[in-house]
């Protein structure tokens, strides 16, 4: 009996304490909370932890400059631990419990697909900073990474050009999941439309973390030995890249014979490679650390100061995070509130200077217009730009090369107001 009383008293006391604390937690009206939803442990920590640091750096910088709407900005960092269902749980926690105004997060497409219903149900706002397969446009997500027509298609165009080596045969090598599969589907359709015969396209997939590349590299060599100029388009992701490139180098595949253009290998990944034997292989991105502009120099310096490490590299998803964050702060300033609907309206047409020159613009399909760069791997682990688009390329949310998505329009302004339609939702007079 006595024990029970004690327990009850404890619960009551706990309740009181909770009641007393709750208003305090919400009393901080002079702060704006933003969520950071990147894996800090597990397989994706390799890439995502850097983006968390980038957001924290931007927040730090913003607060030093006086905050946003006169309030301090506070980052709420959670760790979804590379566990896709956990991403959805953590997103719900951020929006409902922490009441964040916006979330910066996700890397893999599967994590984005996992949180999408949560953001749509709770009307949250997500900034997604990684190049991806496209074929999506949600009202609640702004995509600041490249769509396929801002990375894959220009890379193929470059390889087809005279300077790229007039490639005639194509190996599409990828990791077995949604991003490489969709990208390769688009690329294959594009190549066939360009008149490449089906026999000159080879598609191959390997599992995540694949380590034994002998057979695949030998097959590439065999495919490339047929006399026509051959190139490999690699959507190999994550850890599998190191053994892949090692095997390429050891089997003596030189970039001048069979170049490999990668969509998932950036400066951060190269720091784990020995690049001596890989000089000349390519990557397509919207940003390279080696690009010389005053904005980029300032950004790199800020990054080195913030991380207290002047060896840390910068990469494309960091620039996408930077652009997304800047655009969001500008939209909040313009709207005068952090209300999701108001901010979303203010986002359209928002402009931020790219770190590589030119200006990125947010379009009404929730994707950016950005320049595309092709870079060659150098012996020092950096990329050297060998080609870039004149001006910016507007992202297609839906690829015109996929028969099932042909004619779909993403436009969240009147009269369309839709991410996946072939006809406008409203009738314009």
């Amino acid at each position: 009996m006595r024990a029970k009383l004690g327990l009850r008293a404890l619960i009551a006391a706990g309740g009181l304490l909770w009641a007393a604390m709750t208003p305090m937690a919400y009393a901080a009206d002079d702060t704006i909370k933003i969520g950071v939803l990147h894996s800090l442990s597990g397989t994706m920590a390799i890439s995502e932890a850097t983006l968390k640091d980038t957001v924290l750096m931007m927040v730090d910088d913003l607060n030093k400059k006086g905050g946003l709407l006169g309030k301090k900005v506070e980052a709420v960092v959670v760790d979804p631990a590379s566990d896709w269902p956990l991403f959805a749980e953590k997103a719900r926690e951020l929006i409902q419990k922490d009441k964040v105004a916006v979330v910066f997060g996700c890397w893999t497409s599967v994590s984005r697909k996992s949180v999408l219903p949560v953001f749509e149900e709770l009307n949250g706002l997500l900034f997604y900073p990684v190049q991806y397969e496209g074929e999506e446009s949600s009202k609640n997500v702004f995509y600041t990474g490249a769509a396929p027509n801002q990375q894959a298609i220009p890379a193929v165009d470059y390889l087809m050009s005279k300077d790229g080596g007039e490639v005639k045969r194509w190996v599409l090598e990828g990791t077995d999941y949604v991003y490489p599969q969709t990208t390769n589907k688009i690329l294959k359709a594009y190549l066939l439309a360009k008149g490449v015969p089906e026999a000159d396209v080879m598609v191959n997939y390997t599992p995540f973390g694949f380590a034994d590349w002998q057979t695949e590299v030998a097959a590439i060599k065999k495919f490339g030995g047929a006399g026509k100029k051959t190139a490999v388009v690699s959507t190999v992701n994550g850890d599998a890249n190191v053994p892949f490139y090692k095997e390429l180098a050891n089997q003596g595949i030189k970039a001048s014979d069979i170049p490999v253009v990668a969509f998932s290998v950036g400066e951060e990944e190269l720091s784990g490679f020995d690049t001596k034997n890989l000089v000349g292989h390519l990557a397509a991105w919207n940003y390279f650390e080696s690009v010389k502009t005053p904005e980029n120099a300032a950004f790199i310096k800020q990054w080195h100061t913030f991380t207290k490490n002047d060896k840390r590299t910068t990469n494309d998803p960091m620039e996408a995070t930077y652009i997304g964050f800047k655009m969001w702060t500008q939209a909040v300033e313009q709207a005068g509130t952090t209300n999701v609907d108001a901010v979303r309206q203010a986002m359209y047409g928002q402009k931020v200077k790219n770190l590589t020159g030119g200006v990125a613009v947010m379009n009404s399909n929730h994707h950016l217009s950005k320049p595309v760069l092709i870079g060659e791997i150098q012996a020092n682990g950096q990329f050297d730009t060998v080609w870039q688009t004149k001006g910016v390329i507007k992202a297609d949310a839906w690829s015109p090369y996929l028969p099932e998505d042909k004619g779909k329009i993403a436009d969240w302004t009147f009269p369309w107001a839709c991410g996946n339609c072939t006809a406008p939702k409203y009738k314009a007079d």
Binding site: A45, I46, K221, K222, V242, N250, Q378
Partner: protein, 537 residues
């Protein structure tokens, strides 16, 4: 006297001429390398290749290594980084041109098309090089890019060639060039010469030629015959290559699994942290490499791997003994708890490494004696790192078998695992033997990590890649049998490599897994089942 003076004057004029004369074609072409568009650069490279000048090779080497820059007044110079600026020199004669700030210099960019042009330009020059490898490479390049205009040079080189291998390569290159350009008799001779080759490039050339529409019927027939005979040979070579690939994958699986064959197979401990022991070995390799680059002269770097092997054994073995003494010894005979506890340890070790080294992968370079490979007939390559690992894995297995069978420690170990109580009664310190056995298993995993760092990633989750495969090998081969582990690893490796090209890497793994499940249904104790009393425990 005056005649001598006159002679000297002429001599001086002659020597001084190339430098004074502004119209030196070499200089002109070198300046053209600084152009903005690649067409002009390639034109300049081709122009350089045609010059009968010994200095061309030097210029091309500087160009391909990325050491050429243009100055702000559009002059092409060689730049060498020094401090925050560059020291520059003339690309033709190498005389110093002073220092330049990095903002004033623009690197001359290369792309793969230009690299190709440089390679074939160098190929023409290297045909007469003193180095056998250079001449061989030049001949191979001439074969891959047949060009009738180079026949004369090739013939000249082949006549003077002493080395029979290089001469054969040159003759093939001549034949390849004559394939399209010669008259009918020459073409037929060329086809006959080429049909003896087992080179995929040759097959490509012949197939290309076969695709032409205006072929003479006899030439067509000869081509068909040559193509089918080369294809047949390539098929055989392909089978041999698949077997090597299988053995190589098998050797990697075996290395990863040998340690487990001891801790799980012999001791019966389900050690989920086995993968992390491999990872520790890989990180030891990284640290050794860093120490070598930091403290020893560059020439010693190639030896770092030799030091890393014992270092990896000691580090992983030490952690293994610590793990056994602090956790596992309290859990003998409780497999479920062991599994959970060691899994927890594996997470701790992963996070520990992530905290110390950071989450990005670490670069471990192959020592120069492990880069590249042996070029096989038919375009296959046996890469050195795989050959070394294959040998290494058999050495480890041999030493281990020796320790188990021929040393008193091995005897104690076997005694303790077969009948602990009896062994203790005979005065064997069972607790110490347990710790050392576990340390031995972990140490071998550490050495496996050293080897695996040479072909794969060095990242905190390296271990998770190999742990499943390791258990698979040990269970499939027969728990407790070293020979079984060997047979299991090699079978899995070869079956995997046979399946991979047929059904793809993803489905291949699934099929292998299904096969193992079926096999275990039929023979629950694996390939080499232990018999006798030990089994009953």
């Amino acid at each position: 006297m005056s005649r001598i003076a006159c002679f000297i004057l002429v001599l001086v004029a002659l020597i001084g001429m190339p430098r004074l004369a502004a119209a030196d074609p070499l200089d002109d072409l070198v300046q053209k390398l600084g152009a903005d568009d690649f067409d002009t650069k390639i034109e300049a490279v081709n122009g350089l290749a045609a010059l009968p000048d010994g200095r061309v090779l030097h210029v091309l080497n500087e160009l391909s290594s990325g050491a050429l820059y243009t100055t702000s007044d559009h002059h092409v110079v060689v730049g060498e980084e020094s401090g925050d600026g560059y020291t520059t020199s003339d690309p033709v004669d190498g005389h110093a041109l002073g220092k330049a700030a990095s903002d004033d210099l623009d690197k001359i960019r290369l792309n793969n098309r230009l690299r190709g042009a440089i390679d074939s330009a160098k190929g023409g020059l290297l045909l007469f090089s003193d180095q056998r490898d250079d001449r061989l490479a030049a001949a191979a390049d001439a074969l891959a890019h047949p060009d009738p205009s180079r026949i004369a040079a090739l013939v000249k080189a082949a006549v003077n060639e002493k080395d029979s291998g290089v001469r054969a390569a040159m003759e093939r290159a001549i034949a390849a060039a004559r394939l399209t350009s010669g008259d009918k008799a020459e073409q037929l001779a060329a086809i006959t010469a080429l049909s003896g080759s087992s080179d995929r490039t040759v097959l490509g050339l012949l197939s290309d030629r076969r695709a032409a529409t205006d072929l003479d019927p006899t030439v067509k027939q000869a081509l068909d015959q040559a193509i089918s005979s080369i294809s047949r040979r390539l098929q055989l070579i392909g089978i041999a290559a698949t077997i090597f690939e299988g053995l190589s994958l098998g050797s990697i699986l075996l290395l990863a699994a040998i340690g487990l064959a001891i801790t799980f197979g012999v001791m019966g401990v389900i050690n989920m942290a086995h993968g992390e022991m491999i990872m520790l070995g890989a990180y030891t390799t990284y640290v050794t490499q860093q120490v070598f680059t930091a403290f020893l002269p560059p020439g010693w770097l190639d030896a770092y791997l030799v030091v890393a092997v014992p270092a990896g054994f000691i580090v992983a073995g030490g952690v293994g003994i610590l793990l056994e003494r602090s956790v596992i010894r309290f859990l003998y005979g409780r497999p479920l708890e062991t599994l959970l506890a060691t899994w927890g340890v594996s997470l701790i070790l992963q996070q520990l490494v992530r905290t110390i080294f950071g989450s990005p992968n670490k670069a471990v370079a192959n020592p120069s004696w492990m880069t590249g490979g042996i070029q096989l007939l038919g375009g296959g390559t046996l890469t050195w790192n795989r050959i070394v690992i294959l040998i290494f894995c058999f050495v480890v297995l041999g030493v281990l078998a020796f320790v188990l069978r021929r040393t008193s420690f091995g005897l104690h170990m076997r005694a303790v695992t077969q009948n602990r109580d009896m062994a203790a009664a005979m005065g064997i310190p069972t607790a110490r033997v347990d710790a050392l056995t576990f340390g031995l298993g972990s140490g071998i995993a550490g050495m496996a990590g050293v080897a695996l760092s040479q072909i794969g990633n060095v990242s905190p989750n390296l271990g998770t890649i190999y742990i499943v495969d390791s258990f698979l090998v040990v269970v499939f081969g027969g728990v407790g049998s070293l020979l079984g582990t060997l047979a299991g690893a090699m079978t899995l490796g070869i079956v995997n490599k046979i399946l991979e090209p047929v059904v793809g890497a993803v489905l291949g793994k699934v099929v292998v897994l299904l096969c193992i499940i079926l096999f275990i249904q039929k023979r629950p104790r694996g390939l080499f089942a232990l018999k006798g009393r030990a089994v009953e425990h």
